[in-house]
Symmetry: C2
Amino acid sequence: MDKVRIIKVKQSVFANNNARAEETRAKLKQKKLFLVNVMSSPGSGKTTFLVNLINRIKDQLKIGVMEADIDATVDAETIATKTGVPSIQIHTSGECHLDAKMVDDGLTGFGIDGLDLVFLENIGNLVCPAEFDTGATCSFELLSIPEGDDKPLKYPLMFSVADVVIFTKLDAKVVFDFDIQKAEERILKLNPKAKFFPVSAKTGEGMDAIADYLVQAVKAYQQD
Amino acid sequence: MDKVRIIKVKQSVFANNNARAEETRAKLKQKKLFLVNVMSSPGSGKTTFLVNLINRIKDQLKIGVMEADIDATVDAETIATKTGVPSIQIHTSGECHLDAKMVDDGLTGFGIDGLDLVFLENIGNLVCPAEFDTGATCSFELLSIPEGDDKPLKYPLMFSVADVVIFTKLDAKVVFDFDIQKAEERILKLNPKAKFFPVSAKTGEGMDAIADYLVQAVKAYQQD
């Protein structure tokens, strides 16, 4: 009984959320603003990756960052200090994901006029954020080398909805067995259009490739 | 409007769940069965840790394992193959956590008579599993070295509800900065009774200490 009731509520929540996300996407398109939803497990290196990436492209694009957390503010402070781009913190008050309304409210509060690119760092969680369309233009999923190449088998929805999968902490391959080819094959079965970038934000390896890809994607979107 | 409706449903779900969890705990106590709820991020090494731990204590205690996953079966197969103890897989059908009813149904299906200790490997997630009392006797939270010592700041509820925090992948300290003392201080602020065990399931470092602790805890519980 309980289960059925929960599922019905979730369906209605999903329908409302999807409609709101589509409105956000249309509004962003009109303003030529590219919104990237960055998802991953806790501790897979989202903030460190974003700092490195933003510092490579901030001279080419006007960038903002929205950091979601349950109730901490450390990430927004780190981004602001280390990149100088405007950054705000969204608190979800215990919720395990961002939904389209939270994101739209965050964008309105942030003030998006004149920006080319906004990164939305979602809550660290491989389950719930995959279920809620945020209205983003593009979704990144970061899978760190220490987590293991079996994660696409265990969290299939997340790897199905990600447009770009970034293998982070590549420098840790000296300590961990992680078969990138096997991981890519598992993800392509779920998501044949997925694109892959192995990187180490610590050493800089692979960061130029994802930076170039993203700048080109934003420019193509703005000219479309 | 949407948010209010979700929160109301969640409160009723939590109340029902807590009552069910207390029933499970009373039943387990009567049967002298110790149930450990093992929680962590995805990829923090729950299954590898359990294989190593079980092989150290399976001659002293009769053990079973319930592996929760969204829809994979790899973990239950690994446990059964590498330890020989009975193991079942619980599928949550997309849900991001186990609740007390799923666990109680799992225990009934598993057949718990004659067992001393059952491990319940929860979904890899630092948010939702912390909200749902499973009826377990004791909760373990595994925090792996690559995830970073700031996780207690960002997922405070999880570190508040864990009885025992196990720092896993200690062998990866050569690659990652992780201040164990700082992590312990952060956790003790949330949870002054927390116990800590730093381990590497790969090298075996620290595994004797957690094995001894658990065997003693099970025996004390059975004699109480």
